[in-house]
């Protein structure tokens, strides 16, 4: 368990460093950076490369946003395998619904109970 935590730490940290380099060196906004990372995750799964990374790094690969692109592609490909081209359309959210549904739900709850605090920097 300890080893896998260390691996998760290192791999997850490195993916964030790639993001930081896109922002600092590439002068991209956070939105552009995250979009690029998601697209990268989707493409990596096309080459069957992201799943091995998850097997190796666990949360180090599932927590960064790249994993969102991977799951979308993964769902689409899995359905395409079964149902052909219709599956490409329908399978996308098969694997990864929890990120979006949790974000919407907790966003709503957050809006209900919190107010923005601009008080301190």
């Amino acid at each position: 368990m300890f080893v896998s935590i260390v691996i998760a730490f290192i791999v997850g940290g490195l993916i964030c460093v790639i993001g930081q380099l896109l922002m600092d060196v590439g002068k991209l906004t956070p939105a552009h950076t995250l979009s690029i990372l998601v697209v990268t995750g989707a493409i990596l799964d096309g080459f069957n490369l992201y799943e091995p990374l998850i097997d190796f790094a666990g949360a180090g690969a599932t927590i960064p946003i790249t994993s969102f692109g991977n799951s979308l592609t993964h769902g689409a490909i899995a359905e395409a395998e079964k149902h052909g081209w219709i599956g490409v359309l329908t399978g996308m959210f098969e694997v990864t619904s929890s990120g979006i549904s949790a974000a919407i739900l907790f966003g709503m709850i957050g809006a209900l109970i919190f107010r923005s605090k601009g008080q301190q920097p």
Partner: protein
């Protein structure tokens, strides 16, 4: 007339009252002891940021009136602006104050452009008393120009913190023992193709440079003729850029070094505020409290107050346009 955009006021319209209010973060400002009122709540206990902003504008105007002992009904004009879309806080405040009003927008430079117009109206004999000033409120400006307040984006060291404050003055016909608006220079819009919305200092410095140069030339003055030259919100990075530009134009280095910037000094050395303060409330709150106080106490006699403004919108930034900037200056003297 003298040089392009330079105005001289022979009747020397007087600043007979001023009101500055600010939010809770501004309690830590080095200028805080000169402010008239500090709110404990950034929304002034209203239910939205914009309403709180409006309340601060009203309160600052009321304080200015009270200090000068002038009734609301005797005020002929209100010249005001802020950074929220369509200047709604100023518009709503004008509805409450019931003073004839024109909303002005020069971004953060509205703090001075409003006073220029009010001085002109007074000079022309059209105004007995005119209120002028500007304000900004951190949350409402952040959410409009950048991200939601709670969004965890990383700002670079060149970014500035929008001040929550409003500063207003009451301008009357020239009289003894009040600071007088002697001259003013209206800024050109200068665009040197700077594009980084997190580096306003670099975008605005050329505008400040142009306005200061034109004002001195038009008035036949040197920097040394002033006890204080202060810019609005160039920040800790923008100010040295301005100094470098003025030095390169051949101004005496020891005089250039004396130029101060409200935004750079506003929050002291606190690194959490990155390159310092910005916003219409930044220049308005410092110019119309600290500077007027120094003049009234006769510690200084002649001041050039230069408010800088970046005339961008989120839309122009996203459409990859550069950031056009301006700077308006007023020369205030105390005799």
């Amino acid at each position: 007339m003298m040089d392009q955009g330079v105005i001289y006021f022979p009747s020397k319209p007087a600043i007979i009252g001023s009101g500055v209010v600010a939010g809770p973060v501004e309690k830590n400002s080095v200028f805080a002891q000169d402010f008239d009122r500090l709110y404990d709540n950034e929304r002034a206990d209203e239910d939205s940021n914009e309403k709180g902003h409006q309340t601060m504008v009203e309160e600052a105007c009321q304080i200015a009136l009270k200090k000068a002992n002038i009734k609301q009904n005797d005020v002929d004009f209100l010249m005001s602006g802020d950074l929220v879309n369509q200047m709604t806080p100023s518009n709503f405040a004008a509805a409450t104050l019931q003073v004839p009003y024109i909303g002005l927008f020069s971004a953060c430079a509205t703090a001075v452009s409003s006073v220029i117009i009010a001085s002109l109206l007074t000079e022309l004999g059209g105004s007995r008393y005119a209120l002028a000033g500007a304000g900004s409120q951190h949350n409402s400006v952040e959410r409009q120009f950048r991200y939601p307040v709670e969004y965890g984006g990383q700002k670079p060291g060149t970014a500035q913190w929008t001040v929550t404050a409003a500063g207003y003055v009451l301008i009357a016909k020239g009289q003894m023992n009040s600071p007088a608006v002697e001259a003013a220079t209206i800024g050109k819009v200068i665009d040197l193709q700077q594009t980084d919305p997190f580096h306003m200092g670099a975008a605005m410095a050329p505008a400040a440079c142009d306005t200061i140069t034109r004002h001195l030339k038009g008035r036949g003055q040197k920097l040394a003729d002033y006890d204080l030259v202060m810019t609005g919100d160039l920040g800790k990075v923008g100010l040295p850029i301005l100094k470098e530009m003025l030095t390169k134009q051949g101004m005496a280095k020891q005089d250039v070094q004396k130029i101060r910037d409200a935004g750079a000094e506003y929050y002291g050395d606190d690194e959490a505020f990155l390159a310092g303060a910005s916003g219409a409330g930044c220049s308005a709150s410092v110019f119309y409290s600290y500077i007027l106080k120094q003049l009234n106490e006769k510690k200084i006699e002649r001041v050039l107050a230069v408010a800088t403004g970046a005339l961008l919108s989120p839309l122009t930034v996203q459409q990859n346009e550069s950031i056009p900037c301006t700077a308006h200056a007023i020369e205030i003297s105390m005799k």
